[in-house]
């Protein structure tokens, strides 16, 4: 295992220390339990937007804490959801009197831990709502399974709801808005290489030089399909096809296209893939009105990419464009 770390068990704690040092004016970083909070939290009279999950997906979620996006992020150990106490402490730290919206990626662990935290917080009289993000079309959705995973779409929910909360939208409005973004968002990822979890010490799976994995998750889970490696045109077409057929996206739709690196794919390749995706969407009559390209919802050093497509309307565009000031996303201020 080749990593710039000390003790594998201390990776998250040490990274948080670095994050605190890097963003002293923006963030308050707590340890025990770990939380990344807006420096100015709690913001009185505003819905507090809280998210979190296992570490290893940075900048998700801690990199999205700040005015216009999250009030708090709860980082668990690498690829392991945070505990209820941790989430509860974050809720209490940022609750500004207007309720708390939990944005939770749909994984059993995250759901159960956030659920428990929400129960505790409710018992203390804090109005807490939970919205599950489940945008990954790689996973078949069914009542009898764990359901779809939350992946790239999480960022969009956090940005858009965070903007609404910043403007003073109430908890009902924020919750409905989050549900609306989730309903209109689909993602699919692929990998060229696996990642290595520090406490595991070896890659989560092995791919031959001429293989790729389609439909991977963001926790080093293998995907649903292993295929011979293809040129970028083929790879991107697979992702675009699966995503647009799923919702389905239709001719005339306005959309945000988010081309995401799983961590190890360089920007040169990412922009190349983004260009192909834009072309394919244009061919289908889908108008890309906003875009984001970069390593935002990652899986450690995994090489690969995901595409996320989100249906837009004027309201969502306005909220997407609203000022945001976080470690990883910043505009308008």
């Amino acid at each position: 295992m080749k990593k710039i770390i000390n003790d594998p068990a201390a990776v998250v704690a040490e990274a948080l220390r670095g994050m605190a040092a890097a963003h002293p004016d923006l963030l308050t970083v707590r340890t025990d339990p770990a939380a990344i909070l807006r420096a100015d939290a709690p913001v009185a009279g505003r819905v507090a937007v809280v998210s979190g999950g296992g570490s290893g997906h940075e900048p998700l979620h801690g990199g999205f804490v700040g005015p216009g996006m999250l009030h708090a992020a709860c980082p668990g150990p690498v690829f392991t959801s945070p505990t209820p106490d941790q989430v509860q402490a974050a809720i209490e730290a940022v609750h500004g009197g207007a309720g708390v919206l939990l944005i939770v990626k749909n994984y059993t662990g995250d759901v159960l831990n956030f659920e428990t935290a929400a129960e505790f917080a409710l018992a203390e009289g804090i109005d807490v709502r939970t919205v599950l993000v489940d945008d990954d079309v790689a996973v078949k959705d069914s009542l009898y399974t764990a359901g779809r995973r939350g992946v790239g779409g999480t960022l969009l929910v956090e940005k858009i709801v965070g903007a609404a909360a910043e403007r003073g939208a109430d908890l009902d409005t924020c919750e409905q808005l989050a549900l609306r973004v989730v309903a209109g968002t689909r993602s699919l990822g692929m990998a060229l290489t696996a990642c290595t979890v520090p406490h595991v010490g070896e890659p989560s799976f092995t791919l031959a030089e001429d293989e790729m994995e389609i439909g991977i998750g963001i926790h080093g889970e293998p995907g649903r399909e292993r295929l011979p490696l293809e040129p970028a045109d083929g790879i991107v077409r697979r992702l675009v096809d699966a995503i647009t057929e799923d919702l389905p996206f239709a001719e005339g739709d306005r959309a945000l296209l988010f081309t995401n690196s799983m961590g190890g794919t360089p920007q040169l390749e990412l922009y190349l893939a983004h260009g192909i995706a834009e072309r394919l969407l244009a061919e289908r009559g889908i108008t890309v009105e906003r875009r984001l390209v970069g390593p935002y919802v990652t899986s450690l050093e995994m090489q690969g990419m995901s595409l996320t497509l989100c249906r837009l309307d004027d309201e969502l565009i306005d909220l997407w464009d609203a000022p945001v000031h976080t470690a990883a996303l910043r505009w308008g201020c």
Binding site: G54, G76, T108, E221
Partner: protein, 208 residues
């Protein structure tokens, strides 16, 4: 005569210590069809449990299990944290204020644990989860209630091991392995395995 608060403490301690031994195996099982953290998660949690047990001050068997539960909930994370946490919490509730645990109580506690896991996780037998180990364990325990805690737990552990082994051919329908679809078949479920390991350790530590 059943198990005292000291006996229960010793049994949980023994189980907690055994997790360290199985850490790597559980990591490896979870790496194959999950995200590779199950062994690390339980190891972190049960290490914290050991520290808590050192603190002592338990007024009955239920309080030992309750501290174990809250410690697991606040340190394990992932799916296993709330599930095992709930299991121990429900088991504690089933023990009530009894100062000694007998075979019947032990079987009741196991049944309550299973109910708790199902209530939280909504998994049915055959979904390839810890429920596949715990369900036969409860049945086996219930048919040996008259033979003392140790016998009850040994029967439960045997059944749990068989139940865990039965997950190998299954296609997962709950938890992270479900994302793999058909590719999850052919692997042992890590949570079912850890359930069997924990029950075996509890049984072997039970003095009566």
């Amino acid at each position: 005569m059943g198990c005292s608060v000291e006996d229960v403490t010793a049994a949980v301690r023994a189980a907690a210590e055994v997790v360290r031994e199985y850490r790597d195996e559980l990591v490896e099982l979870d790496r194959e069809i999950g995200d590779g953290d199950h062994g690390e998660n339980l190891h972190r949690g049960f290490t914290a449990v050991l520290a808590k047990l050192d603190g002592g001050g338990f007024d009955g068997p239920a309080s030992v299990l309750k501290v174990t539960a809250t410690t697991l909930i606040s340190t394990v994370g992932g799916a296993a944290g709330p599930l095992y946490g709930t299991a121990f919490l429900r088991a504690a509730t089933a023990l009530g204020d009894a100062s000694e645990v007998d075979g019947q109580l032990a079987a009741n506690a196991l049944a309550a644990a299973l109910e708790g896991v199902v209530a939280r996780g909504k998994a049915a037998p055959g979904d390839k989860t810890m429920v596949d180990a715990l369900t036969p364990a409860v049945t086996a325990a219930q048919s040996t209630v008259d033979s003392g805690v140790r016998a009850v737990l040994l029967a439960a552990a045997d059944a749990a091991e068989e139940g865990a082994a039965s997950t190998v051919p299954l296609v997962a329908r709950k938890g992270r392995a479900s994302y793999l679809g058909e590719r999850s078949a052919g692997h042992l479920d890590p949570g079912a395995r850890s359930t069997a390991v924990l029950l075996r350790a509890l049984a072997e530590a039970a003095r009566r």
